[in-house]
Amino acid sequence: MAYTVPTTPAEPAWTLSATCRCLTEDLGLAPEACQRPIADLTGAHQVIADFVKKRGEYPIGNETIKALLPRVVAYALHSGRFRAATWHHEAAGIVWLLAARWHEQGRADDAYPYFEHLLRTGQLLPTRTDAARVVDQRRPTFAHALYLDVPRMRRWALDHPGNIQEGVIGGRVRVRVAFENGTDGLLYVAITRRLLPGTLPLPLAWDIQVLAAFFPGLPLEDIDYIDHIAGHALANDEVGYCGLVQRDGEAGFPTADAQT
C-alpha cells in the first residue's frame, strides 16, 4: 500500500518568468529587475501584472500568434492596448513572457510584426542567462525541501516498515521510499528520472543529493542499485537504490572529520 504525504515547500506546476530583453527593452525596466522573481514586478508594468495573473491561472491563452508558427507556439496576451507573446515551455515547466508592444493594427511598429522580427533575428526566445536565472531561483526551494521533507519521509518509512511512501521533494523530484525491517534493515529509495516541473531528464547528480539526504552517515559506496522497492516493481521511469539503515534510523549525521 502506498501513502502520499504533502511535501513543502514546493515549486508550482509551472514557473512564470520573462526574458531579460523583454523586461528591459519592451517594458523599460532597469536591468536589475531581471534578477527579481516576476511576481515581484507586477507593480512595475500592467503587462507583467496581467501576465502573472492570467498565466498564473493557466499556462496558455486562447489565441496563438500565427506569425511565429510553426517554430514557436506562443500565445497572445491582451493587456489594454498592449499585446504580449507568451510561451509555455513545457519541457522545462516555465511560462515565458517573451515580448510586449503597443498594438495598433496596420502600423509598421505594431506588436505582431515586431514579435515576428524578434524571432527572425534570434531575439525572441530565452537566452542561457534567462534559463540560468530560473534555475537559480528554484535552487533554494529544493535545498530547503531536502532539509525539511526528506528527514520526515525517512522517519515515516522507518516507523512503518513494509509500507511505501510517495512524495515530491520541493516539487522537483518524485520519490518513493520504503523500509524493510529484516535483520539488516534496508531503506529503499526509488527516484523518478524526471525533473519537475516539466519533462526534462533528471541529472544523476540530483539522485546523489537526494540519496545523501536519505542516508545520513552512510558512505556513497554502501548504497546499491536495486530493481525493486521493498519487493514491489519500479515504475518504468524510476531508478531504485537501497542501503542498510538501523531500525532506530538515527545513526547520526557524519561529522566533517568522518567524511574526509
Binding site: 540560468a132 534555475v135 535552487r139 535545498a143 531536502l146 531528464p201 545520513p216 559506496e221 524510476e238
Partner: protein, 95 residues
Amino acid sequence: MLQEGYLMTTKSKPIRIFAQDDHALEAVARLQRQSRAQVIHAALAEYLLNHREELSRLYAETQQALAAGDMDRLVRATETTRDAEVDAIMATIPS
C-alpha cells in the same frame, strides 16, 4: 555498490529507462550486439567512472550541509547540478 564492476556483473534485471529512449536504446543494443540492460549498465558505469570524484564530493558536501542545517552551503552544493539543468533547458528551446 555504486561501482561499475558491481553494476556490470551482479544485476540480472534491466534498469528501467524513459519510454522515449526506447528506440535509441534498441538501436545501440543491436549495433553493439548487446542486451538492452547491458547497454544501460555500461552507460551508467561509464558515467560513474568518469564522474566518481565529483559525485562523491557532492554526496559528502550535501550530507555535511544538511547535518549543519546550513542552507547557504546546501544551495552552494547544488551548484554542481546547476549547469546540467541549464543545459537541459537550453536543449529544448527551438533553434
